[in-house]
Amino acid sequence: MKKTLLSLSNLTKQFDGKTVLDSLNLDIYDGEFITLLGPSGCGKTTLLRLMAGFEHPDAGTITLSGEDLTGTSPEHRPLNTVFQHYALFPHMSVFDNVAYGLKMEKRPKEEIRERVEEALAMVQLQDYTRRKPHQLSGGQQQRVAIARAVVKRPRLLLLDEPLSALDYKLRRTMQVELKRLQRELGITFVFVTHDQEEALSMSDRVVVLKDGLVQQLGTPREVYERPANLFTARFVGETNFFPGEVESIHDGSITVDVFGLKRTLRRPDFPVRQGQPLHVLLRPEDIRVLDPADEQGVAGKIVERNYKGSTLDSVIHLEDGTEVLASEFFDEDDPAFDYRLGEPVKVSWVDGWEWLLPEEADEPVHEDALTDA
């Protein structure tokens, strides 16, 4: 059984009359790596700032192992933050930056030296103690920021988009390193990002946020394969949405009409009725591109092909104008596998790989919610 470390209940926060968090509930387990994922303005940073104590909620409570933290000031909370732009003290050396928190605790000098060196060794910066932050690269500054935050052995580490200022390759390295640190230290990590790939690859659980509301809470696999709603489906990964209509309902399955194809699919969790329109969601890697002579599938033609190294990604225009993204792995048997533009094909998918969602009242989800993802 997982133990709850930090419990947020009914957290509400407004800025200038605009609701940023709307009575949000969330339990964070001891030792987990949990990610708050969402587009900018979804409330994820506000949520983090409430946990850190930089902001105070208009309503609701924050408890840490049963102890109420809601009114506690940041300096008295047993948790630390890694800031988006590192926030290293520019006038202090690397050593003094990392030692700052321990000095504030009035620890003995010898203990401070030992713990700072230990923390810097953990991020492979033991040889940089005398440098000033501006003499370090972005990645090194990031490591100092992490060392500074973990040296106090917090119960919980809050990370506010800590990798967003790094270039792609460095980001990948730091992702692995953060995961390693989290395993070694056994500290609970609350990680904020708008990068869904980062969220999926690092987290034990992902919280998808939009407009101050939790859209979905689950493992990366659940969020990716079984999105709770259209927003999550669109925000996390690429998705093809095929319009479907329920033809008939059986015991464990339903027959759905998709582009005139009658497919018998697993019956979804939500109630269905005959004639109901619904969305059939397919990830690009679920799509099968077939020969135009194939009996099943929907006809279309290739309008774009992108060589991605391990996959060949293509865009197919169906006859009704729907765009379909397909991502196919290269096969050892057919290394020359490729499409030409305009090539006629048929599109299908493997039964059971689809995911069904009901139509939503407020759709379509506006594209602008996704642009900064």
Binding site: H85, H91, Y100
Partner: protein
């Protein structure tokens, strides 16, 4: 390196700037240095031979006292400006952008009036039968006027009044640049408000403090018309000494030497300012 002829605008600007600096900054200063090592001459003001008499004269007990008193008044002025300017600039940086601009505008408005005129205005306030005394007496709070004019305090008030904006503006600039994230980080790491002030805010605003001190301390020693109007004969500034040597006593070498002492003090302060900025990695270093 692109040829000069192909960039006429660039060349023109450079010539203008360098010409300006050579003729209006370097040359006059060299003339002052030259004058300071020459001999006083009643007819031509200065003449050969070269000597360091003027500098020796600076250590004369009488002048040393004037210097020290002048330094004391300038230091008090700087301290008062800092004590008012620091919290003012801090508060200013926390306001909304619109209000910030409005307040900065109010800070600058007095510059549109000649400072001599403003000093006379101050005299009207401080005089024995001036506005302050007559108001206080009218209210019945005092029975006889307080002697404010022609005191050390009046000189310091006058200097603070004229120089305060020069303290506030550089301080405002460092407070405006102070990243809120750093203060949050300090709190996050367990520092309270006071510890954060001492360990983060003060060191990071130090370049602004030094810039403000530079802009106040040196002019405060030079603004000779303030003691002339408000201070009486005993509260002289180095500026009065310099002015008197050139205009009244006609001892140019001594006046020049006194002026060079101020310039050197300024240079030392600028060096300190530069070092403080390097400490927080704003320029140079690497």
């Amino acid at each position: 390196m692109p040829s000069i002829t192909r960039q006429p605008f660039r060349t023109a600007v450079l010539v203008l700037v360098w010409g300006w600096l050579l003729f209006l900054v370097l040359a006059p200063n060299l003339l002052v240095v030259g004058a300071s090592v020459m001999t006083r001459d009643p007819g031509t003001f200065i003449s050969l031979p070269l000597n360091l008499d003027a500098y020796r004269q600076l250590f004369d007990a009488l002048y040393l006292e004037v210097f020290l008193h002048s330094l004391y008044m300038a230091a008090m002025t700087t301290l008062v400006c800092l004590l008012i300017g620091y919290p003012f600039a801090w508060a200013l940086s926390k306001l909304g952008k619109q209000r910030q601009l409005l307040l900065i505008f109010f800070l600058i408005v007095p510059f549109w009036t000649n400072s001599l005129v403003r000093t006379y205005a101050l005299k009207m306030l401080l005089a024995t039968n001036g506005l302050i005394n007559s108001s206080l007496m009218g209210l019945g709070w005092i029975d006889e006027p307080i002697q404010m004019l022609y005191t050390e305090g009046a000189v310091i008030i006058g200097l603070v009044y004229l120089l305060l904006p020069f303290m506030i503006l550089p301080l405002y600039s460092v407070f405006d640049d102070l990243r809120q994230e750093l203060l949050l980080a300090s709190h996050d790491l367990g520092a309270g408000r006071f510890a954060t002030f001492i360990h983060v805010i003060v060191p990071l605003t130090l370049p602004g403090v030094l810039a403000g001190v530079m802009l106040v301390l040196l002019p405060a020693m030079g603004l000779f018309f303030v003691p002339d109007i408000l201070g009486g004969s005993r509260n002289l500034l180095v500026g009065n000494v310099i002015k008197n040597q050139f205009l009244d006593a006609r001892n140019w070498p001594f006046g020049a030497a006194a002026s060079i002492v101020l310039t050197v003090t300024m240079a030392i302060l600028m060096l300190a300012h530069r070092l403080s900025k390097q400490r927080i990695g704003e320029e140079g270093a690497g």
